[in-house]
């Protein structure tokens, strides 16, 4: 660009000095500035004056010192995060690139970063110390300790009069009022702050009965928080025998003590939250543990009840009543068998008897008479079987099948071949 602009002048030498329009020379100046290595990336320090923040959202101000003024512009897109640091009269350092506002004929610094004067040096110092302590291993995650789940005593190092302490006490009261707070008061800003903070941390360690230490300070400027970047404070945090939780400034503030702490919380309230369980969570846990306890106990009772039922059942099986019933049934069976047997025997006897009767009947002498035989008895009723038992003229009694008769023997003849 610069080469091109220079060329614009050189080519006109043939016709005398070249005359440029206002726009032309202004464009030239603009091109010069925008291409300059220094002017396009520069920090400038001065005091803010004639600060103007129109509704467009852009910020216009003048930076001045004893000998000069400089017009500055911050475009809307970047304005919001820098607005707070710009106050008329404040000493600042601004970063940006130079250019020309052609219509106004003004060169301006287009600002993209603002910091309070002195911060730049502090920041360099901060980075150097951070690198050194980091190299020493003080910020390593490996040496960070976990916090007790149910602390009994919490040490707090902070200003005894600050809002931060009240915030932390309120938070602890609401979340976990079982703890006892051991306050080691300390001045937390100014020259003597680092030594006081170190002493407070050491004193809590000497006290010995705290489970965790909170190192806290409410929000403030970078300078206000500077004590927490002090090397001795960082070492006291590292050397503490109980875990240290930092809650320093706001969310965006990071001090070296934060890097060294076992846990870094964004604010004092955040630190109080980090070291304490929440009462409501604990009560809910208790509720569910108790419900489980009741369920388990009821299960136990149910088990015992089942055992009882089972034993009762076994007992019933062994009871004499069952045996008696059992025996009674066997008795019935046996009786029935006996009866069946008896009937059988009777039937058998009966048929034998009938046979015998039939046999007997076949032997009845009267049956023989039916076949034409007769029975002859003497007067005494004795059956006469031989002619030798009678004499002539004896009276005999004759029985035939259908009656009886008396007869007198008129002759007796003995058979020759009986």
């Amino acid at each position: 660009m610069a080469g091109y602009a220079k060329h614009m002048f050189e080519q006109s030498s043939l016709f005398g000095p070249r005359v440029l329009s206002v726009s032309g020379i202004t464009q030239y100046l603009r091109a010069m500035m925008e291409s300059d290595e220094i002017l396009r990336d520069v920090w400038v320090s001065g005091e803010v004056s004639t600060l103007s923040t129109p509704s467009s959202g852009h910020i216009y101000f003048t930076l001045k010192d004893s000998g000069a003024t400089l017009k500055c512009v911050i475009w809307r897109a970047q304005a919001s995060r820098m607005r707070n640091q710009l106050q008329t009269g404040s000493a600042v350092e601004v970063h940006g690139a130079f250019s020309v506002y052609e219509a106004g004929g003004q060169y301006q610094l287009y600002v993209d970063a603002v910091r309070l004067a002195g911060e730049g040096l502090l920041y360099q110092e901060f980075l150097r110390l951070k690198a050194r302590l980091e190299a020493e291993g003080l910020f390593e995650e490996g040496r960070k300790r976990s916090l007790p789940k149910f602390p009994i005593r919490i040490g707090i190092v902070t200003s005894p009069t600050g809002a931060a302490l009240q915030d932390m006490l309120n938070t602890l009261q609401n979340r976990y009022p079982l703890v006892e707070v051991i306050l080691a008061p300390a001045v937390v800003q100014g020259e003597e702050a680092p030594a006081k903070v170190v002493k407070a941390i050491e004193e809590l360690n000497r006290y010995g009965r705290v489970d965790v230490i909170i190192l806290a300070r409410g929000g403030g400027s970078l300078e206000d928080l500077w004590a927490f970047n002090d090397e001795n404070v960082v070492r006291a945090v590292v050397n503490s025998s109980v875990p240290v939780v930092t809650g320093i400034g706001h969310e965006t503030d990071f001090t070296l003590s934060d890097y060294a702490a076992d846990v870094r919380a964004p604010t004092p309230t955040g630190a109080a939250v980090a070291v304490s369980p929440d009462k409501n969570d604990l009560l809910r846990d208790l509720g569910s543990v108790y419900a489980s306890l009741k369920d388990s106990f009821e299960d136990r009772l149910t088990d015992l009840d089942h055992n009882l039922s089972r034993i009762n059942h076994r007992l019933n099986l062994l009871s004499p009543i069952a045996k008696i019933r059992n025996d009674s049934q066997r008795l019935d069976e046996m009786t029935q068998r006996l009866e069946r047997n008896l009937q059988h025997q009777m039937a058998l006897r009966h048929s034998h008897l009938e046979g015998a009767i039939r046999h007997l009947e076949s032997l009845n002498p009267l049956q023989v008479l039916n076949r034409g035989f007769a029975i002859v008895r003497n007067a005494d009723g004795k059956v006469i079987r031989s002619v030798n038992e009678v004499s002539r003229d004896d009276e005999v009694h004759i029985r035939v099948a259908d009656g009886e008769m008396d007869a007198r023997l008129t002759s007796i003849n003995k058979s020759s071949n009986p």
Partner: protein, 78 residues
């Protein structure tokens, strides 16, 4: 509260840890009615004890007089 209960001075952590142990035993072991009942009652007591601690506690504060007047460490109820 029974005498036994009033004598106890458990921390929340101790009480809650024991409560969990009681629950584990009641869930895990088979035992007779008396032991179950004793455990259940112990659990009931510990639950109540923990809840009481949480609900009735008031935050206490002591201040070490370390950085203020002298180096002597004093304690004082806040």
């Amino acid at each position: 509260m029974t005498q036994l209960e009033s004598k106890e001075n458990l921390s929340y952590e101790q009480a809650f840890t024991e409560l969990e142990q009681v629950l584990n035993r009641l869930e895990g072991e088979s035992m007779n009615l008396e032991d179950s009942l004793l455990l259940f009652e112990r659990g009931q007591f510990l639950t109540r004890y923990c809840a009481d601690l949480l609900e009735k506690a008031q935050l206490r504060m002591q201040q070490l007089h370390v950085n203020l007047s002298s180096d002597e460490t004093e304690e004082e109820e806040a």
